[in-house]
Symmetry: C2
Subunit: 320 residues, 2 copies
Amino acid sequence: MSADEPTPALPLGRGREFDAIRGLLARWGDRAVGIGDDAAIVRVPRGDALLASVDTAIENRHFRDDWLTPREIGYRAVTAALSDLAAMAAQPLGILVALALPERWSASLPAMADGIADAVTAAGTTILGGNLAAAELLSLTTTVLGSAFAPLRRGGLRPGDAIHVTGSLGGPGAAVAAWNSGHRLHDQHRQRFAHPSARIREARWLADRGANAGIDISDGLAADLEHLAAASAVGLDIDLGLVPLLDGVNGPIAAAASGEEYELVIGTPPGVALDAGEFERTFGIPLTAIGHAVPREAGVVFRRGAERVAKPTGYDHLSR
Amino acid sequence: MSADEPTPALPLGRGREFDAIRGLLARWGDRAVGIGDDAAIVRVPRGDALLASVDTAIENRHFRDDWLTPREIGYRAVTAALSDLAAMAAQPLGILVALALPERWSASLPAMADGIADAVTAAGTTILGGNLAAAELLSLTTTVLGSAFAPLRRGGLRPGDAIHVTGSLGGPGAAVAAWNSGHRLHDQHRQRFAHPSARIREARWLADRGANAGIDISDGLAADLEHLAAASAVGLDIDLGLVPLLDGVNGPIAAAASGEEYELVIGTPPGVALDAGEFERTFGIPLTAIGHAVPREAGVVFRRGAERVAKPTGYDHLSR
């Protein structure tokens, strides 16, 4: 069979691992393609670069089973990984999912598989392959593959560029704070934590209209702005008072420290004017200018209106 | 920066995770390329298909810290993943490594990183990206990306095709048996377990000379032959007595059940004659014809000379 033909699902061999994989494939139907060979075969559009990224979600580190349903765990892990393609304005080509599955989670595998399927369907892509291994703690490692003719980079900002953020922030941080403190959890905050969106279409809309740099908010707006500034070798002047907040979020400092938002921060050069009204009518979320890039020597400055504020503390995967 | 230019390593932000990643990048030098954006940017050769696969190695499931050094753990995990590209006769484009790292393993991270570098160097490729997360058990999930104009498939066998195996088998199985029983461990058996080779160059040599189907031996020769037969919808007639054994291996049945060999099984259509002597002179390992494909109705038959033998039991990841 030539690589130009579509790859049919191949019969698998014997054993419990293969039975479990067969069950997943039956559940996924046409959301999974070309499984059964040693590697998936993918066509990259002519002239495009391939984009590849990997992300791991681990039980009790990145989620807790009393916070999320199994379906939400699957959805959220894959959406977080797909968000890295959105950050670069790439079109998804497919994902590979490596599951480390404890025995006590095996009854939840079908629901988790449905969540994985929800995420690829929302992003308009498919499951190309994976791995299933027994383990003591549940983890989902998702590799995302995408393509773009001109990927949006972290290093594209120049002094004078405008900085924009998509969506309304603070929900995931507020949800985690409510869970940890036992305070009342707003439905909308839980929803933003459990059902984030990978801003795939939004990113391509922005790149098509002249965005020259991008990053997704995984570590928190403030921390990810610092990554963007470091990669671009610029400073930033950001007014956190302009950042749209979800109802019930405890102010812009909390919102700028809220991680795993999966909203986008993008830059535009002088002369590019983005139509925030058209963006909001198209995607149902705001697009907001929050500051601009300055020379590197000026550093990254956070303000709230005229008043300078300390850097809101972000999220560091190894420290919690 | 356009995607056609080589991607320089970008400055990273703050935090312990980033410090650890910076340490890895310093250690890897030019064995790691283009790290720092949300996703790696890769060029696929024009006309080639992209091949992608993922594999996970988990502490106490796939290796034990009293069996392997940290450097061997890193080498072996990545080599096992690269072997899936060899199975399809693909040229590696790069790997992504997701590490789940317990605190008690953090001092071993540099040695593990060296082992990962050893594996990509042996395969003539580079590290494109990764993920680092705290965890309770060590695991390494490796995504491999490769390209091929005409990938070797599991489904390519037809009745009458000859079946060949590379290398001498039984070493990994004998090593695991010795560790489990406390019997004397042969150096060569340990070496085959700890330092397997991904048969990347061998596979391309074979595909260039007319091989029409392939699989790598991860579950054991017998089990992987059954996968090949199932995918191709053929039966097989295999003489295990012909399989080359390492010294000290307890016969061909044990060798055919030995998993994680990472040798190749390939098929050739009638009329293709492989020069086993040239193969051995080129790669230093034997290439051996061990049987042929038959109609599906005849099933998969294992013999030892004239005598029919039961299927040697292979390796099932979820059952041990």
